[in-house]
């Protein structure tokens, strides 16, 4: 497999891409930003009426059970899955080769598998102020009862389409188009400056 290059490699004049503490961190670091670099990012879509077969196929391959409801999802720290549209799911794995694992399970009669591993960048924002920083970007409810752990949301920041999965009480994974990742990362850094952030 071709070695993947991150779109977030730091350049000499871009300190916010370097690991370490930035912004107003003298009073503590309230947000941690990192790129999770999963090796597999897939989009699965079921034909109308085939949603249950697709959900059971996801459980067969990943071992993750999808709860009922729009935008529901789950994660075990290595693999993650969430619904982002009716009958459509994003499935992520830290390991390579998830697409071929689905090839025999999601048959052409059930739906489609699209490999987006090279097309999306996964950015993780964690910490006590993660919810607060994201609320500056997206006009959706980030409170835990409205956005439970495992659930996913598709929305956008200006015209940058983003899929967000809550992977912990104060942790979110954001999937953006690779070509927008660098500017989106910098916007996240600027928004995190006032609470102090650390790049890992």
């Amino acid at each position: 497999m071709v070695e993947r290059q991150s779109p977030l490699e730091p350049a000499p004049l871009e300190p916010e891409l370097r690991t370490g503490s930035h912004g107003d961190f003298e009073h503590g670091v309230d947000v941690i930003l990192s790129e999770t670099r999963p090796r597999s990012i897939l989009q699965l879509a079921a034909w109308p009426g085939q949603e249950k077969e697709l959900i059971s196929g996801i459980r067969t391959v990943t071992g993750l059970a999808l709860p009922d409801g729009a935008g529901a999802g789950s994660t075990d720290g290595v693999k993650s899955v969430f619904g982002f549209a009716p009958g459509k799911f994003t499935v992520v794995d830290e390991a390579e080769g998830l697409g071929s694992a689905f090839a025999n399970v999601v048959t052409p009669a059930i739906g489609t598998v699209t490999d987006l591993s090279h097309g999306r960048t996964a950015i993780r924002i964690a910490g006590p102020k993660a919810e607060w920083v994201l609320a500056k970007f997206f006009a959706i409810d980030f409170a835990l009862p409205a956005f439970p752990v495992g659930a996913g949301r598709s929305t956008m920041h200006h015209d940058v389409f983003a899929q967000i999965q809550r992977t912990g009480a104060d942790q979110f994974d954001i999937y953006v188009f690779r070509s927008f990742a660098r500017s989106f990362w910098k916007a996240l850094c600027h928004a995190s400056e006032e609470v102090g952030y650390e790049v890992q």
Binding site: G71, S154, T155, M156
Partner: protein, 98 residues
Amino acid sequence: MLITCPYCGPRDVIEFTYQGDGNRERPQPASQDLDAWNAYVYNRLNPAGDHNEIWQHSGGCRAHLRVVRNTLTHEISSVAFARGDHKSVARHKTEGKS
């Protein structure tokens, strides 16, 4: 203006794309009825009140939605997936006239 997407919940109108009047009936592709095609392409009801519209949640789940919006108040009285049911929801302008 908020539109409550049946999948995503209430979202700002900036996430949605207007896809046109929801009252149009497209003639069969092979139809030679020029009046029907003319009506499909050009004729609009332009009501002052509830209006059937098609919107796409392009900045979210990308589903096409059948929306009833009041053109005077921008109140959204109904949102449903456009797939499947093609019946108009808003009262047709011509129906109310005697």
